[in-house]
Symmetry: D2
Subunit: 172 residues, 4 copies
């Protein structure tokens, strides 16, 4: 998934412009529990850091996954993820997990999450989330989540920008 | 909890004699996921091995915790546990987790679980389980679990032995 | 990564034909430790099952990652992985983790690992391993691992087949 | 271990008075990774929260376990721990892990750690740490750790108080 160039996407949600959302940063420390005998963070544990970051990004945006599920019966489920391991994190490292929205469609959200330490990229994670009903069927992303993804834009500004911005570079 | 000497216990279940139950042994391998940067199994992970052993001991005895919960609404919950770390387990070790029943009362089961490698005791774990209802209240241990704990004894044999064995050394 | 069609790959190792290697299957049970409050296996934990399967595939092929590292200073490190979550695994499920070799190059091994339950694919994982030296540089895959990947073929048979098989469907 | 009453302990370190150390509090959130299919925090995971709390208590006291090990070859290892599970923690709970020093001897430190939520005690953990050399032998607690345990007292003040305080109630 190339998130650097915007190709007009007919399925993209017209009311949400990922370029407008500032990236969210979640900070976490590496403890013994996260490491393995190779002296580095065990490869599966980056997915735990990533989940904490997504949960906090949602919470800080004013939403809450448990409340969403209780009210709408909809959960955001990971459908697919790709991890690129560039360099390892180590015991005592202070990590910054940055979360950016790459694309939003009716039922899916594509995120790019980057685990950094001291300004250096350690692991890049592409995550596709799907909104799912209790009985396991894809459904429309709940309104409260769409609100978080839309950031602080008003519908008027978004309409104007939408006409201008088609085809421009996608920072998300 | 001293499980080497039998003190007459008025609360002990009269139909279950832990000394009659052979210890159960569960074998498991240490993988990278279990270790930490100190090169040994992370201290919390022995509780995971212990849980696997308890689940398998129940399953091999003909019972099943999920089915029990579905049928009776009762779950066996860990109320208390003590871990003595004698020596560490390491990557690639083949561990034997032995489970012995130390005592059985109306609502509780005391177990002694030992993690061994190559015949050497690494960690000793004392576990107290309590049978709990869905709304969190202690209740009587379900019949199917009592059957597993009673082993292969018939009620007649147990009655005869009960009269003889009070005060004798408790192996469990 | 499309592992169904063989495109002549100039970097492919000429002595190893992944189509000749039978897939390896590793069986494991889902315990409470693997699940989360959604009632299913937590998304990161499939990477733990996958690692167990890779370790056992190597062991059953006659090699051993710790011995390899001790003797050569080379470790097989996960460089990249992609997980496709098709359906969830649940508490008490008996899972089969199948490992197939998709491609082998001088320093890298591409695997396709599939987590199944009752014959149904739950999660598909593509893994790229890189042979790395102690100081973090890619290096040639150790001889003992190449032997495992080569299966039981002799060099003569492989040479003959190599000439015939270019362009044919790749099962790996 | 009763930490409410001070019994004169001839092995206690005379320069460290646990009653003078204010308890340390570490705050952490419960995420999906910490829970299990029963809808609560998996019983082993409280030991991970407890370790984070100990590491932060040491760090905030001006010391650091990795630096200690690098400089002295001494590590603080868990020798024994007891967990009392009073009530469960759940997804999204904000937990406070309080760490108190109960006793300090030449090579050992006894801690009482309490996991709380909303002012309610959920899990009480007694931990015995032992200072160990690289070759696994108990040794004297390193000076930098003793400094943290001694809090902000000067030797003069401690001597005076030591004479007064024997036999008084032990808050630690």
């Amino acid at each position: 998934m190339n998130d650097h160039v915007a190709r007009p996407d007919p399925t993209a949600d017209p009311d949400i412009d990922p370029r407008r959302l500032p990236p969210h940063v979640f900070r976490c420390r590496v403890y013994y529990e996260d490491t393995d005998a190779a002296g580095i963070v065990y490869y599966a544990n980056y997915l735990r850091f990533a989940e904490r970051a997504r949960t906090e990004a949602l919470r800080e945006g004013g939403s809450d996954h448990s409340r969403i599920f209780a009210e709408t019966g909809v959960a955001l489920v990971v459908r697919r993820c790709t991890l690129d391991y560039l360099a390892p994190a180590r015991l005592d490292d202070l990590l910054d997990v940055e979360t950016r929205v790459a694309a939003v469609r009716g039922a899916t959200i594509d995120l790019l999450q980057t685990v950094r330490c001291g300004g250096r990229d350690l692991v890049r994670i592409e995550v596709r989330l799907v909104a799912m009903t209790r009985d396991g069927r894809p459904t429309r992303i709940p309104a409260s989540v769409r609100a978080v993804l839309a950031g602080s834009q008003t519908p008027d500004i978004k309409n104007a920008e939408r006409n201008q911005d088609r085809g421009m570079e996608h920072h998300g």
